[in-house]
Each structure stands twice: as C-alpha cells, then as structure tokens.
C-alpha cells in the first residue's frame, strides 16, 4: 500500500492557500450571539429536565446585552478611527454595520423578554426558541457587516433557517407547521434565485466583493450589461422576498398569522432589518453607478408595496394578518429611502427600521397577551372593550398603533417624515405622494383597532365578551376547529419555571379569557412604548445616530 501520490502536493497546496488574517474583534458581536446560542444549547443538553425558561431568557438577555455593548463599542471605534474592512474584505465595520448590530441586539433583547411568558403559557418552554432567536439575529448582523455577496448570502441563510423553525415551533397548532412549510419552500425558492443573481453578477464583474464591484463599474463601461442587470434583478427578487415587498410578499400574511405570536414580532423586525441592511448596502454603495437602471423598478416595487399593503390590510378581520399587511406597507416606506439612493435616504431607512422594530415587536407583544392561551384570539372582536378590561395594555397598543399610523409626537411620524423628505429630496415627489396617501389609508385600519378597544363591550362587564358567544378562533382564517386547552402537565411545568415572573397559565375558569399582563411583557412592551414616545418627542438623538451611520462606500 503506497501512499496516494498526490497527498504531499495537496498538503503543499493547502499551505499555499491564503488564509486571511482574521480580526476577531471585528466579528465579536456575531460570535457572542452565536456563542450564547451554543452555550444555552449545550448547557440544556447536559440537564436531565428541560432547562428552566427563566434561565434561558436570562442567558439570552445577557447575550443580547453583551452584544449591544460590544456593538456600541464598535460604533465608538468607527467614530474614532473611521470605517475598515476585515478578513480580507469579507466584512466591513462602518457606522452602518454598527447601527444594524445595535438594532439587532435591541430586537433580541426585547423579543426574548416578551416571548418568555408566552413560552410558559403555551408550554413550549425549553431553550429552542431563544436559541433560534440568537442564531437568526447573528444572521441579521452578518448581513449588516457583509461586504461580499457570498457573505450576504451566508447571513441571509443564517437569518432565514432559524426563522423557518421558529415559525414551526408551536407544534400543537397546525397553522404553525403550515406557516413554516410555506415559508421554507418559498424561502428556499427565493434563495436559489438570489444565489443565481450572485452568480450572474460575478459573471459580469468577476468579483463578489462589494467595493470591488463598485470599483469595476467605475473603471469600465459595459457595452453589454445584460448579464449584470439580470443579476441585479434576481438579487432584488431575493431581497424583496426577505423584506416582503410586493409581489414577493405572498408568504408574509400566512406566515405571520400561523407563527407563534412573539416569533412573528421578532420575524417582522429582524428579517426586515437584515434584508434591508444588505439591500441598502449592495444597491446604494456597490451599484450606485447603475442607479438609473435599478431606481425605476424599485420605484414600482415601493409604489405597489405601499398601496397593496395598505389597501388589503383594510379587509383583514384577523389582527395578526392585518399587521402582516401593515408591515408590508412599512416595507414600502423603507423602500422609499432606498429609492432615494442617497446618504439621506439610507439614514432615513435606517431610522425607519429602528423605530419600526420597536413598534412592531411591542405590538405583537400586546397581541400575544390578547391572544390568550392557545394563541388564537386574534380576531378584531377580541379587542372590543380591551380598554375597559386592560387599560394599560390597551393604552400601550393604542400608542403603538398610532405610531405605526404616523401620528405626531411618536417615532412613526418622524420616520415617515424622514423617508418622505428623502424621497422628495431625491426628486421622487410622485412616490412621496403615493406614500402619504397610503399612510392615510393605513391610518384607518390602525385606528379601527384603537377605536374598537375603547368601544363598550356589550353589557360592559368583563365576561361580556364570552357571554356574547364570540368564538375566539372563529376568524383565524384557515384554521380548523379550535383546539382544546393545554394539558395540565404543561400548566404545572409553566408554573415551576417562574422566577419572579407570575405564572399566567392557570386560567381562572374554563372559557374565561386570561389577559393579565406578565411582567416580561409589561417590561418589553413598556420599553417599546417608551422608545416610541420618547424618541418621538426628542427625535434628535436617534436621527443623528442614523445620520452618522454612514456606509463605507458613500454614494
């Protein structure tokens, strides 16, 4: 037996492979995110019983806080030393990436806190939810720092795959599995399109490195740029799918409705942040010279996304579904900033994403409480009289909905103002008008919920809702007959896990609606409301934060 002949040559060749210098400090936030996930998973696998969900949440919050602090340090470093690329140009550390990292850390933090009580209530405690949260967030952060189309794709997949599983997490609900399957199939489909787009761009420019693409375009005049433009189109499809822009949005309503409610909030925030971060970076900084080619289709995308989201949301009787269309409408607004293709537009989009994330997570936090045990009271009727039953909850939801509608003195107003003024500044006044009209239409369905909450609930007593014979599951769309209440075993398990958090699983009477606000939700939603109101009155801090979050390659 002689050694295979090539092995020494192979070894020699391997030694010649240029392994880039890895500056671990630059990817530390992502590594901490992933590390936190690994630690939680590893630790819980060593335990005999499922890990106490209080511990899991604490560890998740700890990880997110650490990431938040590291991201802020990176922000400081960028401010002090300017932007840099690392790992052979694969990732970039600039104001933009730091902003995205900060935002994603906040999203994880708030989502984890809000999800905690839901997990106990639904009896899906165990580390999986929070681990997936961390993994997906790491993906979003990777998309934020990606400086190479391959890394963008890596981030995209790292972001998406945990989201598919999150959608399926509530195995007791058929819709949950259905949502996950749809999301997964369509996600895979669009990923394939996206990769093909990368391949075409590589074919046209000979590189996947974002600054090098820009460089190549600046140095060469392409006589036959069909390949490149086709690649651009496919990339836009992939991104459009991720951020749920019409007509690539079709998955969103079903998935939002079917997924566990806290996961929906997280998904709505993190997928948009990750998707838009990469979309903005790729299109605004790398393909800036082609903006005459890509701005018109983005104009059309933004336009139909704005209109479609607002108009169809009017017709929804299911709140989660309505919020799905509302988030499609929001995506249209963020596209406005992209369409402006300017620094101002990027800053406006970032600001929008920031405030949108808090609004949407807070909103779904409230929805998860109103949803009750089994997570299925999501019809509009369930909100009738909430103002009398749970004034704090209704008040918080009112503020968040008003903010989403863009009422002054909330962040929503400032955000809409910024993207619209960026669009006007870039000469897209027509699009700005469409955006404002769609905001006016959208105000209707936000206010409808707000009004409904303060409408008298029939006889006015707390139990009137049940007395009216409203079937909580009646309007949840494609769901079958409502499922029986959870097994007592799960109740006990939920109770055992509480450390300082009241166990809300024990419902007082069969059929009665338990809408008590768990401490975690109170904290998380309170934080979202505080951000929404405080930065709505003092927008300056946040807007200047977004304005300083510039891209490495500025248009």
């Amino acid at each position: 037996m002689s050694a295979p002949p090539g092995i020494t040559e192979l070894a020699a060749a391997a030694a010649k492979l240029a392994i880039p210098h890895i500056d671990y400090l630059s990817v530390l936030p992502i590594m901490v995110m992933l590390g936190g996930a690994v630690v939680i998973l590893g630790w819980s696998s060593l335990l005999r019983r499922p890990m106490d969900s209080g511990w899991v949440t604490s560890l998740t919050v700890l990880t997110a806080s650490a990431t938040l602090i590291l991201s802020l340090f990176q922000w400081g470093a960028v401010l002090a030393h300017g932007a840099h690329t690392h790992i052979d140009g694969a990732i970039v550390q600039d104001g933009f990436s730091a902003f995205v990292s900060v935002l994603v850390s906040c999203i994880v933090l708030v989502s984890a806190v809000i999800a905690d009580s839901w997990l106990r209530r639904e009896g899906v405690d165990g580390p999986e939810f929070q681990v997936l949260l961390l993994l997906s967030a790491a993906g979003a952060m990777t998309m934020g720092v990606a400086n190479d189309l391959i890394v963008v794709f890596l981030g995209l997949e790292l972001l998406s795959i945990p989201l598919y599983v999150l959608a399926a997490l509530n195995a007791r609900r058929a819709e949950s599995g259905e949502a996950a399957l749809k999301y997964f199939v369509l996600g895979g489909f669009s990923s394939a399109i996206f990769v093909y787009g990368i391949a075409l761009v590589y074919g046209a420019t000979g590189t996947t490195d974002l600054p090098q693409i820009a460089d190549y375009l600046a140095r060469n005049v392409l006589l036959h740029d069909g390949l490149l433009l086709a690649g651009l189109a496919l990339l836009l499809v992939g991104f459009g799918f991720k951020v749920a822009a019409v007509p690539f949005h079709l998955w969103a309503p079903d998935v939002y409705q079917g997924s566990p409610t806290p996961a929906t909030g997280f998904m709505a925030a993190v997928a948009k942040v990750g998707g838009f971060a990469a979309l903005l970076r790729v299109f605004v900084s790398s393909f800036h010279l082609l903006q005459n080619d890509w701005r018109p289709p983005v104009w059309v995308l933004a336009c139909i996304t704005l209109v479609f989201g607002a108009v169809v949301a009017l017709w929804q009787r299911d709140v989660k579904r309505m919020l799905a269309y509302s988030s499609i409408n929001h995506a249209g607004f963020v596209l406005l900033g992209l369409q402006a293709a300017s620094n101002r537009g990027v800053a406006a989009s970032l600001y929008y994403l920031f405030v949108y994330s808090f609004m949407v997570i807070g909103t779904f936090g409230v929805v998860s409480v109103v949803g009750g045990r089994g997570d299925r009271r999501h019809s509009l009727e369930a909100y009738r009289g909430l103002g009398a039953r749970q004034p704090w909850l209704a008040g918080a939801l009112t503020i968040l909905l008003l903010a989403q509608a863009g009422v002054p003195f909330t962040t929503g107003f400032v955000a809409k103002l910024e993207v619209i003024s960026a669009a006007v500044h870039a000469g897209s006044t027509d699009l700005a008008v469409v955006a404002m009209v769609s905001a006016a239409v959208a105000a209707f369905f936000y206010l409808r919920v707000a009004v409904l909450m303060y409408a008298p609930s029939g006889a006015g007593s707390e139990h009137a809702l049940d007395g009216l014979g409203i079937d909580p599951a009646g309007a949840t769309g494609s769901s079958g007959p409502s499922m029986p209440a959870e097994a007592p075993v799960l109740v006990a398990r939920g109770e055992a896990g509480s450390v300082g958090v009241p166990a809300t699983v024990v419902s007082p009477a069969p059929g009665a609606v338990d809408e008590t606000i768990p401490a975690g939700v109170a904290f998380g939603v309170g934080l979202c409301v505080a951000v929404t109101v405080v930065f709505g009155i003092w927008p300056e801090t946040l807007t200047s934060f977004a304005q300083h979050a510039t891209l490495l390659l500025r248009p």
């Binding site: 749809k182 433009l229 079709l250 807007t543």
Partner: protein, 681 residues
C-alpha cells in the same frame, strides 16, 4: 441659574402627568396639595431665575435663549424647542406662577367634595404648564403649542361640570371663539415664515426689514385677531362671560393669571413689529378702547356676580390693548400685573361669597354680607377700591399710566378711557352695594336649605340663576355615607361646619382665606411697582430692553401728570358716588338696566344671526347639494374603489404555495424583462 428655566413648565406639566396617572390613588386633599406644590415649585424657580436675571447688568445679557432640543429638523425648516428668558417672559412667569399657586391653594378648599377633585387639578396644572410654555417659548411654534394647550384646558375646565348643558355649551363656545383667533395665529406664523424663513423671535425681530409695510400690518393684525380671541376683545368677547360656567377658581385663573393675558403678552412680545405698523396700532388701540367701554357698560347691568366680574375683565383687557395700541407696552404690562392682583382677588372673593350662599350667584339675592363675612368683605373691598382707581391703590397707578399714555397719543381714545373709568367705578360699586351692603335678601335660601331643598332649587331657578352644586354633586353624595335621610344638595361643598345650616353665610376654610389676604396686600401696594414721581424708583424699567424707551416721560410735564391723576380720581369718585346710593337700598331698577345692555349689546345675537344662521344656511345647502352629490360621490367612490381593489387583491392570497411561488416568478420575470429591455435600448 438661568439653565433651570426648563423646570418652569416642566413642574406643572409633570404634576399633571403624575396626577393624571396616580391622582385617583392619591385621593382628595393630597392630589390638590401635590398640584399646588408643583406650581409653587415653579414659582420658587421663577424667583431664582428672576434673581439670576437681575444679577446680570451688561446690556443685552438679560435675554437668554435656552434650546432644549431640536424639534422639527426638515431641511431649511428648523424649529427648536427653546425657552426665551428675558425681562418680559420673567415678569409673566412670576405673576402667572404666583397667582396660579394661590388659586391652586384656594381650589383645595373650593373643590372639596367634588367627585372629580383630582381631575380638576390635572387640568389646572396642565393649564398653568401650557401657559408657561406659551410665555417662555423662544419661537412662535412653541408659543403656539402653549397657546393651544391653554385653549384646550380652558375648554375642559369651563365645561368641567359638563353634566350641565350650559357648562358644556359654554366650554364649546370658548373653544370655538378661540379657534377663530387661532386661525389668525397660524396665518401670521405662515406669513412670518414666508418672509423671514424662521419662527425664532430673535431672528424675526432682527429681520424686520424683510417685511414690506403691507405684510407687516397683516402680520400684526392677524396676531391681533389671535389675541382678540384669547383676550376677549371685540367682537370675540362673548365667550368670556359664558366661561363663568366653570368653577370659580377656574374663572379666577382664566381671568387673572392665565389665558386672557396671553393675548396681551403676544402683542407685547411682537412690539418691535407693532411699533412700525401705525395703521395696525390704531386698530389695536381703537378696538381696545371700544371694548373697554362696551364691556364696562354691559357690566353695569348684570345681575350675576361672576358676569359683572367677567365683563369687568373684558373692559380691563380693553385698557391693556389701548395701551399697546399707543405703544405703551410697559403700561400694559403694569396694568396686567395690577389687574392680576385685584381681579384674582375679586374672583376668589366672589367664590367665597358664592360658596357661602350655597352656589347662589344672583346679586339680587345677596346683601349685607359684610356682617357675616368680614375677611371677604375687607379684602373684596380693597379690590373694589383698587379697580375703581382710588389712590394710592394699585389700580389707580396702573390705569393712570395707561390713560396718561393715551392722552399723549390720542385724545379721543383717552376720553373714552376716562369715561370708562367712571363706569368701572360705577359697576363695581353697584356690585359691592348689592352684595355687601343693604338689606339681607338671602334668608329664604337658608330657610329652605335646612329643610327640603327642592323649593330652594326651584326658587333659585326662577330667579334665573344656576345652581352649580345641585345636580353635579348628587352622585358624590350618594357615594358617601349618608348623614341623613335626605342630603341637601346645595351643601355638598361639605367643608361647612354644621352651624351654617342654621341659616347664615360663613367664611370658607383657611386655604380659601390665605390667598385672599395675600392678594389684597398686593392689590393695595402693587402700585408701588411703577410710581411716576421719581426716576430712580423704576422697577418696571427693567422691561426696557424688551420695549425700548418709554413714551410719556418725554412728553408729559409733571403738572399734566398731576392733572390727569386728579381727573382719574374724580371720575372714580363720581362712579362710586353715583352707584352706592342708588344700589344700596334698592336692587330692582329696570330703568338703569336697559335690555340692550343686559343682552350685551345684542352682540351674541348678532353673531348668532350672522355666523350661526349663515352657517346653518350653508350647512343646509351643503347637506342638500354638496354632500350627497359631490362628497358622498367621492367618498363612496373611493370606498368602492378600494373595496373592489382590496377584494380583488385579496384573492391573490389563495393559501397555495405553488401560487405564491408563481407570484414570485411573475415578479421576477417582470423585473428581468425590464432590465433586459434596458440593455437593448
């Protein structure tokens, strides 16, 4: 120390916030005390600020702008939330916080037992906070926020007892009249921004050359429209009389310290712009003088004690606008201060009387109260002499200052002012005579209140007066442990000791007495702020950096001043001398109360005829023609369109993955087609 200025509006606003959330838990007296404490805190801060400002001597150093944060950064349109601390705003702040603190204190006693005790203090704090924002704003927009806040709070407070129809409609009336003025403010703001490109007072006044005479006059007149709405000048004053439907401390707050002085402040703030616009100045002065006279003539005939005071306020505000119109801003501020003292006192005194009379407000059912309410009688009497213009009380100096300036500028307006001075003395002496002197005409009120209160209410209603407590407090009474089979409704301001059921008016608790004494002191000695004799004694001279040099010092000789002063005094004495004999013994003199004046010159009716009827006609026209054809068509059209659109688009959402994928593919194909078409072209 100047940087503490942000605390001034913040304290009452946070008080309102805390009370709004925890007020119910704090409960009755505590919520009131908290509300009072925040305003008192503001007053202390105001004193500190005042001292800090006084300590600065360099010219121009007494005007400090504190930018809190950038509010609306939209391209060229930059608005900061900033506070302007200068002699004018500090003067306003000092007396707004001072008087408001006293009124808060008084309200603890007055609103005792009211079902919505805490809510009252929420509004009251919000009111004061808004007023401070209005006064301190460093640009027109911040002032406007305060302006609107004051308007909204006045609506809530005037219709505080909203179960009563008259209160609810009075609140609406105040709000609508104010809205008319607000339109003026908004248009002025647009015009200023159009000309200067900024709303900051400093910037605007530094770029006055940007205004051509016409636009300058327009801005001033539009601002005057705003001021006329808020400060109840002709023809927008009817709301102020109706505003008496609110609880009496609210009337005091609106009339003495906040709200109505906002218009005066606004005009004074814009004095650099006003001073060059001569036509507009004449309009302001004439409207002011006319308002002073008209309101005084109406006040001379009213029967409701609060209505008399309301018209008196309108009349005094007319004096202030007269002063502003002739360029004597300092005199206007001086009168505003003096007026704040004695009008606050009059209202609080009237509140004591009403409180004691079981919510009876009709002067014809009072009389000889000085025997039973010594403190109120003495303090009220001080205010009476002060406003009538008897030297050496504050009113004499303040009104004299205005009239001297008017004399120097426009003799006709001065003459109107002088006649009005006599009328002023007359109507207040009439009030005094009817309430505190003469026969005791109130015994039946007390006789019936001890027994069944039904006839009392009926009798009172027959006189044409309202019984604020009778309906509102009934729920509160039923909520508390019943003290007997029937709880007499008029007794619901339950602080009264038991003996008062025996049939005598009585003084209120000490929290109601202290403000009276403090204000009486101020009303007596307040004139010392601006004695004309000696140039070195000139406390109000510190306003000079805002207003420029004074007017009449340059024109009037000492002899003229003496002469004018004597004329004022004589007029006051004529007024008093006529009224006291007429009204002490006999209260029923229809000849002296012509219907024309009783009905306030039919102004309300005229406005009703023009605006309301006209509006109804317009409404009928739109209702019959525009609405169904045009608007409805558009609305239903839009609804049908979006409906059809939504219903159609909704069908896209089939739930089948293959069709979703098809959607993605179609989108992709469209994008690809577009991109490839670009390469071919």
């Amino acid at each position: 120390m100047i940087h503490l200025a942000y605390l001034l509006p913040l304290l009452p606003l946070s008080g309102a916030f805390v009370l709004g959330i925890f007020g119910r838990r704090l409960g009755e007296p505590l919520a009131g005390w908290l509300g009072t404490a925040t305003v008192l805190g503001s007053f202390v801060v105001a004193c500190i600020e005042f001292a800090a400002l006084l300590a600065r001597h360099a010219p121009g150093s007494r005007s400090v702008t504190q930018v809190l944060w950038r509010w609306i950064p939209v391209g060229g349109f930059q608005v900061h939330v900033g506070l302007l601390v200068d002699p004018l705003s500090m003067t306003m702040v000092l007396f707004v916080t001072g008087i408001s603190a006293l009124i808060h204190l008084y309200s603890i006693g007055y609103m005792h037992g009211d079902r919505d005790f805490t809510k009252f203090f929420v509004y009251l704090n919000l009111f004061v906070g808004s007023m401070l924002l209005l006064v301190l704003g460093s640009n027109m927009l911040v002032t406007f926020v305060g302006w609107e806040g004051v308007g909204a709070c006045s609506y809530w407070l005037i219709s505080f007892w909203f179960e009563r129809d008259s209160a609810a409609s009075a609140g609406k009336k105040a709000f609508i009249y104010n809205r008319v003025g607000d339109v003026g403010f908004l248009l002025a703001m647009f015009l200023v921004f159009d000309k200067v490109g900024s709303l900051d007072y400093h910037v605007v006044f530094a770029h006055l050359s940007a205004f051509d005479p016409a636009s300058r006059t327009a801005v001033v007149l539009l601002l005057f429209l705003a001021a006329a709405g808020k400060s109840a000048q002709l023809p927008l004053f009817p709301w102020l009389a109706d505003a008496m439907e609110g609880p009496t401390p609210v009337s005091a707050l609106i009339h003495a310290a906040t709200m109505v002085t906002a218009g005066v402040y606004l005009m004074c703030r814009f004095n650099p712009m006003l001073s060059g616009a001569h036509d507009a100045q004449l309009v302001v002065a004439s409207v002011g003088a006319a308002t002073a006279f008209v309101a005084a003539s109406i006040g001379a005939t009213q029967h409701d004690i609060k209505k008399v005071l309301a018209y008196s306020t309108v009349s005094q505000l007319g004096y202030m606008f007269l002063a502003i119109g002739v360029g004597a801003y300092e005199a206007a501020i001086f009168l505003m201060l003096a007026h704040a003292f004695y009008k606050g006192l009059l209202f609080l005194g009237a509140g004591s009387v009403i409180h004691a009379m079981h919510d009876e407000q009709d002067l014809r059912r009072m009389g000889n109260l000085r025997r039973y309410m010594k403190l109120t009688a003495v303090t009220f009497g001080t205010a009476w002499l002060a406003i009538a213009g008897i030297p050496p009380l504050a009113g004499f100096w303040a009104k004299g200052d205005v009239l001297d300036n008017a004399f120097a500028s426009n003799k006709a307006l001065w003459a109107i002012g002088l006649v009005t001075a006599a009328l002023t003395a007359y109507y207040l002496s009439r009030l005094m005579a009817m309430a505190f002197f003469g026969d005791e005409r109130w015994h039946d009120l007390f006789a019936t209140s001890a027994g069944s209160h039904g006839p009392a209410a009926a009798g009172s209603a027959a006189v044409g007066s309202q019984m604020p407590g009778s309906t509102m407090h009934a729920p509160a009474a039923s909520g508390s442990p019943p003290s007997g089979a029937a709880v007499p409704a008029p007794l619901m301001h339950g602080s009264s000791p038991p003996q008062h059921a025996a049939g005598q008016p009585h003084e209120g608790p000490w929290v109601m007495g202290v403000p009276l004494v403090v204000l009486a002191f101020l009303a007596f000695f307040g004139g010392a702020l601006n004695l004309p004799w000696h140039p070195s004694w000139d406390p109000l001279g510190w306003l000079a950096p805002v207003f420029g040099s004074r007017l009449y010092d340059a024109h009037q000789s000492a002899a003229t001043l003496w002469l004018l002063g004597v004329a004022d005094t004589v007029m006051a004495l004529i007024g008093i001398g006529t009224a006291l004999p007429l009204w002490t013994r006999q209260v029923d003199r229809p000849k002296l109360e012509p219907v024309f004046l009783l009905r306030a010159w039919y102004l309300d009716a005229a406005i009703d005829l023009v605006v309301s009827r006209g509006g109804q006609l317009l409404a009928r026209f739109t209702g019959a023609v525009v609405e169904p054809k045009v608007v409805d068509g558009a609305v239903t059209g839009t609804v049908r369109l979006t409906g059809a659109l939504g219903a159609g688009l909704r069908r896209v959402q089939t739930g089948f993955v293959r069709q979703y994928a098809l959607g993605v593919v179609l989108g992709m194909v469209a994008l690809l087609a577009y991109m490839i078409s670009r390469t071919w072209m």
